[in-house]
Symmetry: C2
Amino acid sequence: MDLSSMNPKDVRLMIRNGELTGPTAGMCPGYAQGNLVVLPKELAYDFLLFTQRNPKSCPLLEVSDTGSRCFFESAPGSDIARDIPLYRVYQDGILIGEYPEAVNFWREDFVSFLIGCSFSFEADLLDAGIPVRHIQEDKNVPMYRTNIPCTPAGVFHGNMVVSMRPLPHRLVPKAVQITGEMPKVHGAPIHIGDPSAIGIRDIAQPDFGEAVTIYPGEVPVFWPCGVTPQNVLMDSKPSFAITHAPGHMFITDIKNINLKY
Amino acid sequence: MDLSSMNPKDVRLMIRNGELTGPTAGMCPGYAQGNLVVLPKELAYDFLLFTQRNPKSCPLLEVSDTGSRCFFESAPGSDIARDIPLYRVYQDGILIGEYPEAVNFWREDFVSFLIGCSFSFEADLLDAGIPVRHIQEDKNVPMYRTNIPCTPAGVFHGNMVVSMRPLPHRLVPKAVQITGEMPKVHGAPIHIGDPSAIGIRDIAQPDFGEAVTIYPGEVPVFWPCGVTPQNVLMDSKPSFAITHAPGHMFITDIKNINLKY
């Protein structure tokens, strides 16, 4: 079955029915995928304010109505508690398990946040002939904790997490321009070059994901990463939270081209 | 005294000291001015969500901490309750008066929202040789209620208000490109041409501001307007609210060029 030609609605339905259980990379090319964070309403104001103050690492695509399990704008007919292949459930900041659906955990006071994902700009980079190393090496993108502070909001505070893609010198400006046009999926890089300048001690040992090869003549380029909100969130130990499992994203009906304008 | 060469901090101080009491148009060119909405915390989540869902009419520049009277990022050292020349105070959705400062009304549960203003892109239009009619005619920009629904959020719902600038046909694409690069101050037009298509019955009778001349060969071009949130807000009759008086904006330390990136 060629999933790459299916529309997002049909793929979400297959996920809902348990027919797709793995990572969503490569599914529905041209359509945006998103990070999910679900929180009790009592924490929703602080988290919404955190995303407003940190739009580079936490670009919001949509916020559900309280208690609703649907992203009406990004994915009409969706079921937030079933349309992701794998969920993570946290209690008091501790991961209590991974589950193929979140229905049994759902509460009427939940608010769901959909946050942009760099999968969207990677398609544009590839289109422009810019290599994306972790795709070439069939790995998860390498991600690092930095010393770049996020702007705090209420109970939430912490440092930015970044993703890294090594690029030949001559392609760096073009990559900045292409990704800079898509602020809703993290936008332009936050740093280019020396990892130690942003507090990364060993580029070969990412804090999340997997290390990738950096060839001679290549520069490490760092983008704000959608793992930032999860990281900040868990540090503040919310009473209850649900997120997607890494790589298992929510697939929207939003065309990537429409994230630019 | 040439106010156009003074920096925002000094102009805010003059306003705070009662030395400047009129509209802020033309002050501190190159720096962004903003619309102010102050609400009790109990309404802040719904309003923040409303701005998130309606970024074209309600582009947020900053949200204060609860109870704080300072926009720390946009204007360090500012006093939100004194740095605007004229405030409007609303009780149960009814305007109870205009005041040169809001200190006596301030409460510990207030949250302040700073919303982008099209003054920022007008400077860029003029730089590019595109005429701005209400500036040429020394009038307030004409604004109209439309039939374009905003996306509701909690208690807030209503239609978009637009501002209108008539342009010669040949300059319309350039104006779309220039303003489209500045989404934090309303961005690209929402409509070009026939006013009736968006529910405007008489272009000569704006709902806010003043009518301007439209010459033969010119097209009315409509942008989402920062009056939208005030309009929507008053319809929902909040127990208490403070805003700036039209034309009397909050002057920030943000350079317009930094609103693009």
